[in-house]
Subunit: 260 residues, 2 copies
């Protein structure tokens, strides 16, 4: 097993770039993960792992990890190298380069039974990852992600999504155009803070539907909300400020799933 | 305005201890907050602010902040001092020592209409804070916190709760004894992952009720669950692993609030 000790090794430089730059991920169609748990989640899913980097002390544990069906090349790394690429204060010992998932929502499948969540310009990777988890738990059909959302392939989002990113169907797309295109097939709802909007419990999610969640700071603009057929709101006796985007989305996803 | 430049100033040493040690907070009945937003939230609530520390550059902004009704002494601090007490990488400029809230749940008010959430040994301050926010948004009557939960007065919990800690009635107590004492007044439910438990949507929350949420890693032990009259579960078509304690609690709180 080749050991890499130089921080300016080409593979290491590439890894570091993929870890820190959305542009590098976009251009190369790759992303990185770290830690045994995410590695196993990736191995168990359809994600194609391209390269693995291990610290020497992690090697014995690696033997027992679930491996991807097609085993990628594995490299040992020295301490200085690990220090350079580790994305968390306590080094995880295992790092991998993966191919971006080629599982866009099967658009042929968007019919009048699907339940979708659309994320319009969310900026917090923790929120986006949490929404992926909730959507998977509740059996939501898929997630639409606007092009100006934070990158779903950043390590922060991947960590917050805890493997659900590897399994949930999702599509990064122009939401404007998507909502227009599927207007007759999916009943679209803008999630807003507005007492005149439809109260969530009264919404009938038995048919195909998509609920659009807005940016953390500003919610949906009226222009964005107007791309939807209706507006819905979560009735709250307390302060509206008290629910963040991920919590609001979790409640909405729960209600959509009940409408099956 | 007195300016403190020595890191070993007694007031600064006390602040640093309160920030880092639960024991110091318990013994002194004090806690600390930082940042303009939390300071204003505290000022607007019943929280008694005892001391304020400001960086020089924050001074002009301080003029415009909401102040507590009874103004505490204010001290300027030098850069080295701020560096010592700042709890986040980007210094917030304002730090305060506050008195712990003396608003235990009014136990006389625990009647057959209240809705309560009980947190049994939760360890993640982010989860606990998030649950406080959701409970406030949905108008839950109060929160019971087991004695082995993470400290609700740590800065991490306070930050995650975003002011709701200052407003929500809560009680740190022996949950065993609480559940036993109120067994006939509050219908208690253990939130578990168990297909044989009552599905959440079928639970009638119209009367007084308390739902007990378990530790992040292990959930409720069977002994803990047996302190409750019934068990409930969140039906999930997807993977149960996918909901964390805060998300599960948010959904439960939403359903409880609907049962009003």
């Amino acid at each position: 097993m080749e050991k890499i000790t130089a921080k300016d090794n080409e593979k290491i430089k590439r890894y570091a770039k993929l870890a820190s730059q959305k542009k590098a991920r976009d251009v190369q169609g790759l992303f990185v993960i770290e830690g045994a748990k995410l590695f196993e989640e990736a191995a168990r899913s359809d994600v194609q792992v391209e390269q693995v980097f291990l610290s020497e002390s992690f090697l014995p544990r690696f033997e027992h990890l679930q491996k991807p069906s097609s085993m990628p090349p594995v490299f040992l790394i020295g301490e200085a190298v690990e220090h350079k690429i580790a994305g968390s204060p306590s080094p995880q010992g295992i790092y991998a380069v993966c191919k971006k998932l080629d599982k866009p929502l099967n658009l042929g499948k968007i019919d009048n039974n699907g339940k979708f969540i659309a994320l319009w310009d969310l900026q917090d990777p923790g929120n986006v990852g949490t929404i992926f988890r909730a959507a998977e738990a509740m059996g939501i059909s898929g997630i639409l992600v606007s092009e100006n959302c934070c990158d779903v392939y950043s390590l922060k989002t991947i960590r917050a999504a805890m493997g659900s990113l590897f399994r949930m169907p999702f599509l990064i797309t122009d939401l404007d155009a998507f909502l227009e295109k599927y207007r007759d097939i999916l009943h679209s709802y803008a999630a807003v803070v507005d007492k005149d909007a439809l109260p969530l419990p009264s919404v009938d999610f038995s048919g195909g539907s998509v609920v659009v969640i807005g940016n953390e700071g500003n919610g949906l603009s009226s222009q964005q909300a107007n791309c939807c057929r209706d507006k819905l709101t979560i009735p709250m006796p307390g302060s509206a400020e008290s629910l963040n985007a991920a919590m609001a989305a979790t409640i909405i996803i729960w209600e959509m799933a009940k409408g099956r």
